[in-house]
Symmetry: C2
């Protein structure tokens, strides 16, 4: 693959930024990548493990002369970072981000960006339960979707950013701002909230010991704990900043759950059977779409690769 | 490994029974295994793929002379099957089952069993999203827990059944009836109900297309679809027959969810952050207990092994 940007700045050095760095190195996609993290400890770690070609002590220093600046901080911190770096941005540069919500990020960041700087928001739908500068790896984005939300941005700048994500292994798709936030509420935000709740409930039930919950987790519970172990700060900001869409889907979820609860209480087996049959079809669609395999490993301990 | 039973009868030939057959063959644990399924089509399939040493056309024929009879039918069908086979059971034989709930099964089955027949209920906590006679495989129970619920059964008969499950690769643990049903409501039944609900909600939301839900499922939603694809009849019977424990845990779940919902509405980031930090610890415990690995593959497409 060939170089797509000359100088890239990564603001924030967590899972996504560190994976971007290794993926850019793998593909030879940038001549130089500068990094900045607010915490001196994170910057120190980054220097020790060779994360970024240069680690800067200020965000302003990192973005100077950068052709692409990617904001990789929690959604709630995007506005303050944008305000800080805005005066140092190179004319013609592209600013992007990796936030899981887009309306709130655009509203927070766009007002600070000077004329002549392109803002092309993006959202890589990839993650693990780990966070921090040592958690990244070059393969994180391979075969995963990155949603690009240009919101009227310059076409050339948008295509260049798409080329970068594709070079890092991702599949890309453009989406409108509001639609992005709704789709993500359904496929990601509410599933995470539900998983957090289920794990919290199990922890609260004193009649069933913690030891038992952990020991017998493979029966279904375990699949929830994996997503409920994601970064707390990131997820707090997602829910605070995608309030309308998440509350909307959550309301729908509660209604459905109450209907199933009533069916259990009333002994309405037909309703339950019909519901469970329908959901099975959706699973078949996901396997056919190549987003999972049909290998019968449900509930089994995965071997380290 | 050596033979543990002379003749075993499997009543019902779905995922669990077919996996038991292949696991018993692998370990040489029974001299002869007879099978019976209510559907002629299932019996025909079983004969074609060599599932069971002999496939019988009636349950009575299958259990005659059997030293161990395992009821592998949905929980709601256990009572009728017990009534049918009771007169044909060999004195001194052991009857067991593989149901996911135990109080309801014991109440339905025990009254029919004659004096001198031992009833040792069991619950293998293993499964896949597939069902039917062709879905079984010898490794299904390897390293997975099978809960034994003797409920006062004969000690020798209990130990013999435990040896069989261990021979099939399972870890075994004894549990009281009521405690079993509570533990399973927390670690398995309610997680399944929640997953079914989440998948049903996504299907209902017409503003987000089915295609998008499927396409972007790896962002969290996908983990729910796997458990929401389990056998509808089996799960209908689980909820109808473990009503008290599931409604109890479900009530607790709703309370917690409403608290998180209020926190989102009120913008209470501190509550959300505290909650999400606590659930992360539980995940760490599960990895330490060896019931999952820490390999950072969350949300990634698993390779076929």
């Amino acid at each position: 693959m060939s170089q797509i940007y000359d100088r890239v700045a990564l603001i924030g050095l967590g899972l996504i930024a560190s994976s971007m760095f290794w993926a850019m190195k793998r593909g030879g996609l940038a001549r130089e990548v500068a990094g900045y993290a607010r915490s001196a400890e994170t910057r120190q770690t980054a220097r020790e493990i060779g994360l970024c070609d240069v680690v800067c002590d200020t965000a302003v220093e990192a973005v100077r002369d950068a052709d692409l600046v990617v904001l990789c901080v929690p959604v709630g911190a995007m506005g303050a970072v944008a305000e800080e770096i805005a005066p140092a941005l190179k004319p013609g540069a592209t600013v992007s981000d990796v936030g899981s919500v887009k309306r709130a990020v655009i509203d927070a960041v766009a007002p600070y960006l000077p004329e002549g700087v392109h803002f092309v928001p993006a959202h890589p739908m990839a993650g693990t339960e780990y966070s921090g500068p040592t958690s990244g790896f070059a393969e994180l984005f391979d075969e995963r979707w990155t949603l690009i939300v240009p919101d009227g941005a310059d076409e050339d700048a948008t295509q260049q950013l798409e080329a970068l994500w594709q070079g890092m292994g991702a599949l890309t798709e453009r989406m409108d701002v509001e639609h992005h936030d709704q789709v993500c509420a359904v496929v990601s935000h509410i599933p995470h909230l539900i998983a957090y709740t289920m794990v919290g409930v199990a922890d609260d039930l004193r009649r069933v010991s913690d030891r038992e919950v952990v020991k017998f987790s493979a029966a279904g519970f375990r699949d929830f704990t994996r997503i409920a172990a994601s970064d707390p700060t990131m997820w707090r900001d997602v829910f605070l900043n995608n309030k309308d869409a998440t509350l909307d889907v959550l309301g729908r979820f509660s209604e459905e759950l109450f209907k199933l609860q009533s069916a259990i209480r009333a002994g309405d087996g037909e309703h339950l059977h019909r519901y469970f049959t329908r959901t099975r079809e959706i699973r078949r669609g996901i396997i056919e779409a190549g987003q999972d395999t049909g290998v019968p490993d449900f509930g089994r301990i995965k071997k380290a690769e």
